[in-house]
Subunit: 246 residues, 2 copies
Amino acid sequence: MSPIRVYLEGLRAGRRQLPTEAAHYLARVQRLAAGDRFVAFDPEAVLEADATLLHVSRQGSECELAVPRAARRAELGVTLMQAAGKGDKLEEVVRAATALGAAEVRVVVSERSVARPGSERGARLRAVAVAAARQSGRGDVPRITGPLSLLDALGELSGLTQALRICLHPRAALPLADAIAGSAAGGEALLLIGPEGGFSDAELASIEQSGFCLAALGPLTLRTELAAIAALGAFAARLPGAPDRL
Amino acid sequence: MSPIRVYLEGLRAGRRQLPTEAAHYLARVQRLAAGDRFVAFDPEAVLEADATLLHVSRQGSECELAVPRAARRAELGVTLMQAAGKGDKLEEVVRAATALGAAEVRVVVSERSVARPGSERGARLRAVAVAAARQSGRGDVPRITGPLSLLDALGELSGLTQALRICLHPRAALPLADAIAGSAAGGEALLLIGPEGGFSDAELASIEQSGFCLAALGPLTLRTELAAIAALGAFAARLPGAPDRL
């Protein structure tokens, strides 16, 4: 069994109060009792610490933390540039991107983006990423950035040297696996996924001018969030498992 | 824009009544009027036909079908052997597997399967597959088979010659992309995905004895349905797009 993991900010060795949410998760959801062990993790600081539950009550709950250690960073190296879609699909994408090891999710807004998410949505997406990091055993979280317009996002890339830049496109003759085969597994890459309805021809011209190659995930039409998840799967499939994992 | 697609059983050239559900979808959801065109498809027969809506009313709706033609079969060649999980996760897997082009979804029940789906669930899963085929532009549907026990499913394979047999495992040293790199893109493959909690050691021994190699999608822990979707993404990533698609 993997250890039970709980998000705690500001890890330091010693005795400390548990926030209500963490205490609830340990005592009610996971049914730990005083003396039981768990792992506290702070994915923003990329730290984790062995912990012991000391007591749980309505008046307050406490744990004892060992000296924090560096947590395992995800190794995928992919920045997912995801055009915003309808409803809560971005949450689905962030959840899967975190579990698959993406380095960053950069939300972009394109001509045909249906939803134009406000920046206040970032806090919600970061909470989704922390929860997905806990479940997947990941010691860090992807950066969640944006929303910014596609053209601004492309503009930010000029002068940068990220070698591999791929935009998924359903009519591309190049299979995604061939597009990534020449690069190092886990190396830096930008993966751009269009919204429902795709990018406009003008947008595609700008995308190609910015050094992106167009690549496909087969001949079928994929929902934008399925395209993102399946494409990240093709990247993650190049990494070995964790032989030392419990 | 892709043509509007509607599921109709038993395609034949000529005038015909539309079932209530199809008429509702065309007139209310897609807002077609008399004279508008659509494509009728029967993914179980792998046929489709150009169609014209003739009239829609509460008393009955009719369309005119052209001569049916063979529809495009999916080209992935992968049979997904999916251990049953909790809740409605199988629906999520079938939806994505259809859109990514899987040839078959074979539901298996293993020691740690949480849900043991009755065979009556097959009709529901087939409906999910038909809807996903419509949305993805796929002209056929994956076969949905099972549930059967893991050992029976492995027994059925003895004597068969499917060359590539892969079981995902989070501790495998072999990356999935390396496991599939030697096979033809779109070629026949069996992809076995464990339930929440994984396969037992005894099950893994039987799986390896049946000719499966263990492969990983990176070092992180994936929910079973995310593992299935991401792994199918790694297979689909080897196929080109559809340059002739509208």
